[in-house]
Amino acid sequence: MNSLKSFLKRDGWMLFIFIGLLAFPFIVATLTGSSPTGVPRGDRMIMRGESVRWQAVLIEVFILSLLAMSYNLLFGFTGVVSFGHALFFGLSGYIFGILLEYTALDTGLATGLGIVLGIAASGLLGLGIGLATLRLKGVYFAIFTLALAEMAYIFFSRLQLTKAEDGFAIGELPVWLDPTQSRLTFYYITLAVFVVGFLLLRRLMASPTGAVFKAIRENEDRAQSIGFNTLRFKLLSLVIAGMMAGAAGILQVMLNKKVGPEMLGLTYTIDPLLMTIIGGTGTLLGPVIGAAGLHLLDVGLRDQVIALGGASIRIADVWGLILGAIFILVVMVFPYGIVGTYQRWRLKRQHRGDPASAATSRAARRQSG
């Protein structure tokens, strides 16, 4: 009973948001008078109405959050810069898609196998890249991943088998999973994957392993000299991040029912990086807030047109520039992002209001000196 109370006090607001997300399709349906499951036509469902439209938006937020969280595990928690995160995202997407479209397997079996193989391949890819380059200085890892992702992008853009740059559509998914048939189910599935991913990451970062990740970020040489095999921990971080990004890639393919080389493109590396930095590098919630904020902004502004002097500019045309400007601004002015800045502000306020804590910190300093 007591533990429930402390849980509610600590995490109650998260539970509140979770319940909100669970009820979200129905709330939108009630508010707009639309159906949360779409409109039936014959024996098929047509995805029409505000509720299913907003479900799709949130599904994308969950997927991007997953991708950004996985990026943050590497960049924010372990201090490893990757410029090829799209590799994991796209590779598992392609594996999943190829199993569904290019093998004679039964749809259900192909889906299951695709999920397992796609995620496993992403993890293995992370292991391979890590073994090859994580021993080196950080820049080498960054450029290795950049080059590898670019190569994968060029390769799949030219590969006739997978319809080159057009990509290929997924004809059939199990009906209960298919977002064009059962979007509500798919909404809850992505929500579940996202929540599980978040909780796992939270568990991981609260564990001793997570503490080593952070120690590596702060000073790898010191972590090494204390006696940790830092390479092994960085590999672990990379493998987990790879698998999470891989899972996000598979969900993306399910949502769009399409696989294409754009999944391997720079966008899916830049976006999670941006979301992480804006939300708060090295914080648990930061990437989620970054992903939600940026994607909702994108959805909301995409079709807006602003008049500037005589010319009218579609936001979608300058979206990249806006993102870039936000990015630079955050790096220069708010390097801790939204969540990080808030945490520091709260910490400072607590300290200011409490003269005793200032004295303790002085005493602690004297001891360490």
């Binding site: 300093r365 004297r366 360490s368 000196g369």
Partner: protein
Amino acid sequence: MNDSAPVLAIENIHTFIGQFHILEGASVAVQQGGITVLLGRNGAGKTTTLKSVMGITPPSQGSIHFRGEPLAGKPSNVIAQMGIGYVPEHRAIFRELTVKENLQIAERKRGDLARRGDLIFDLFPDLKRLYGLPGGNLSGGQQQMLAMARALVPENHLLLIDEPSEGLAPVIIEQLMRAITRLTDHASVLLVEQNFRVASRLANDYVIVDEGQSVASGLIANLVNDDALIQRYLGVA
């Protein structure tokens, strides 16, 4: 300038490196034309004192005055330009640069090296022979000479010399000591030296640093006879 005013006056400085409070109130004075030696155990804060003067690890409290001017807030290149030469420990010469280039880079005005060439080669005749070789090819003693010569290229009023005798053969140390004694014609010296025998022969004044604080100071001649003080802070009899 007043004759009795010290060239360098460090007053009660506190210096942090990261979260570590390294100096917790150190005061040191160097007299015009004199050699002051910083003594103390490993990790007492001697090197940090020199780095605080240079502005490499600027102090957060206290003051440092050089020839009457405060150094607070100045970057290390500006401090150097005021006339302070730094000879760091482990002979931080540029290994890929030739001896000549190692000296050239220290020029502050065109022709510094030409003006000081005679003095440098007089003090360290070996360097003339090694002029075209990369610094990395020099022996430990030669590198130490090069590091000191480098600090002599511009007209410095004060030299900060960190552990010059470390890891060198006695013959070489003897040569370096002669050179340092002769340096005082040109500049005052703040010296960090672990070798008490060397320190006591070179210096006029001493300051003992212990756990980040200056705990004793005075004429070195008085310290030599104060066995209790030596035993307590330096652990040598």
